[in-house]
């Protein structure tokens, strides 16, 4: 499973990072940084919940 971020859309809300801190964080400029290219299977549900909480639908799993 892979996470991808639509940079055009991402507004730097950071709710995703609050929901799955093990997978992503915001840098000092408020840019979202994905910490893994490939989401470990054990973190699948965390990845989905991060996608769910993004208010502008900038994050996708696939």
């Amino acid at each position: 499973m892979k996470l991808s971020i639509d940079r055009e859309r991402c507004e730097g809300y950071g709710l995703c990072a609050e929901s799955a801190p093990e997978l992503m964080h915001l840098d000092d400029e408020g840019e979202l940084v994905l910490d893994h290219d490939e989401v470990p299977p054990s973190a699948g549900p965390a990845a989905e919940s991060a996608v769910r909480v993004c208010p502008v639908a900038a994050l996708k799993v696939g």
Partner: protein
């Protein structure tokens, strides 16, 4: 309530942000019993804030706004509303007559658009149009193609966001309210800022302290109590929302027509509630609904912990976070609203180029707002703590 036993049945009623978050969190907390999610809408849960933004202006597709489906073990009953609750037998009664037994119940039925008719301010026979769900958004998007004259009653967050998208689509827009736009919701400073932006985008703001009444049949005419009538091709009511608690009538769960919860989101023994439906305790006493995305998330997760861990679950300390997009301004706010008084300008000149504002309150805390400024929510939230303001944001 004590911790859930592994074989118990949890039923969640209402399958939007709060309900889906809650169901997901219950499993993530390790609950192994049976889990059922009941939702009235005939489609997968979606991102409601996008309705008045990307869905209306055409930049968000259905795929963009659909929330990821639950992948945990859950029975989903979609397109069927709960019609009632049998508290004695512990059964949710669905509109098709089915009865779904539960040991623990989560109420996440959200809110519906309030109507002027509910407030006694519409003639019988008026066709009142509101905006709350995907169908409403599709209807309005279609109507806007004809560049109608739009009259919006209610200058709160929803009314102003709708005004913004309607104006951007080329419609002539009038917004009517008893109060200046957003004053009650956001306070004077942001009210002035957004009202100026609305005017600059050609929106006419009308203010009648005595209120309005919808007159006629079919598309109504807006009659101002202070005199005057406003006609439009489209009249939208955006006068707040009311909790979906009709199905809980005569259960003893309601107080003054609302569903109150405690700081662990408990409404009664074995019953939790979260999101737009729930009236949460307010510091200083009383209860208030906090209909916002972040509250639905926080409360959904907190209620899940309460269901699974019982009284050992931590009390929720809300961290209010809210945003709105309108008239070229994206405003994100952490802390209590409305913000009173004049804010300190921590950064920026004209707000449209980006500004960071901070209102100190008497208790030493603060409300902080970022206007057209990207900033991690954690840094904005840090500004709501008592002074001194962290050095790095003073630049």
């Amino acid at each position: 309530m004590g911790p859930a036993r592994p074989t118990e049945r949890i039923v969640v009623v209402g399958a939007s942000l709060a309900g889906v978050t809650l169901a997901d969190a219950v499993r993530r907390q390790g609950f192994t019993g049976s889990l059922t999610l009941v939702g009235a809408e005939p489609r997968a849960a979606y991102n409601r804030p996008a309705l008045s933004k990307g869905v209306l202006d055409g930049t968000a597709t259905d795929a963009d706004i659909t929330l990821p489906p639950l992948t945990c073990d859950v029975d989903e009953i979609v397109g069927t509303a709960a019609a009632g609750l049998d508290v004695d037998r512990r059964e949710v009664v669905l509109e098709d007559g089915r009865r779904i037994p539960y040991d623990r119940l989560a109420v996440t039925t959200g809110a519906r658009a309030r109507r002027l008719a509910d407030l006694g301010a519409a003639d019988p026979g008026v066709h009142e149009t509101v905006f709350r769900d995907l169908d409403d958004a599709r209807h309005l998007a279609a109507a806007l193609r004809g560049r109608p004259k739009v009259v919006i009653v209610g200058a709160g967050i929803l009314g102003m966001e709708l005004a913004s998208v309607c104006a951007a689509s080329g419609a002539a827009v009038v917004v009517v309210d008893r109060q200046p736009p957003l004053l009650a919701q956001l306070g004077r400073y942001l009210s002035d800022l957004l009202a100026d932006a609305a005017s600059a985008h050609g929106v006419e703001l009308v203010h009648d302290p005595a209120g309005v009444r919808l007159r006629g049949t079919g598309t109504p005419v807006v009659e101002l109590a202070g005199g005057g009538r406003i006609e439009g091709d489209l009249v939208l009511s955006a006068v707040g929302c009311a909790p979906n608690v009709g199905w809980l009538a005569r259960t003893g769960l309601l107080t003054d027509g609302g569903l109150r919860v405690d700081a662990r989101c408990r409404a009664a023994p074995g019953v939790v509630a979260a999101g737009d439906v729930a009236a949460f305790p307010v510091p200083g006493g009383g209860h208030r609904r906090t209909p916002s995305w972040n509250s639905a998330l926080e409360q959904g997760r907190a209620a899940a912990r309460t269901l699974v861990d019982g009284d050992d679950a931590p009390a929720l300390v809300p961290s209010p976070y809210f945003w709105t997009e309108q008239f070229g301004l994206t405003v994100r706010i952490c802390g209590e609203l409305p913000a009173r008084g004049t804010p300190a300008l921590l950064r920026g000149g004209p707000p449209s180029d980006g500004a960071l504002l901070r209102w100190s309150d008497a208790g030493g805390g603060a409300t902080a707002a970022a206007v057209n400024t990207r900033m991690p929510i954690a840094r904005l939230r840090a500004l709501t703590r008592p002074e001194p303001v962290p050095l790095e944001v003073q630049r």
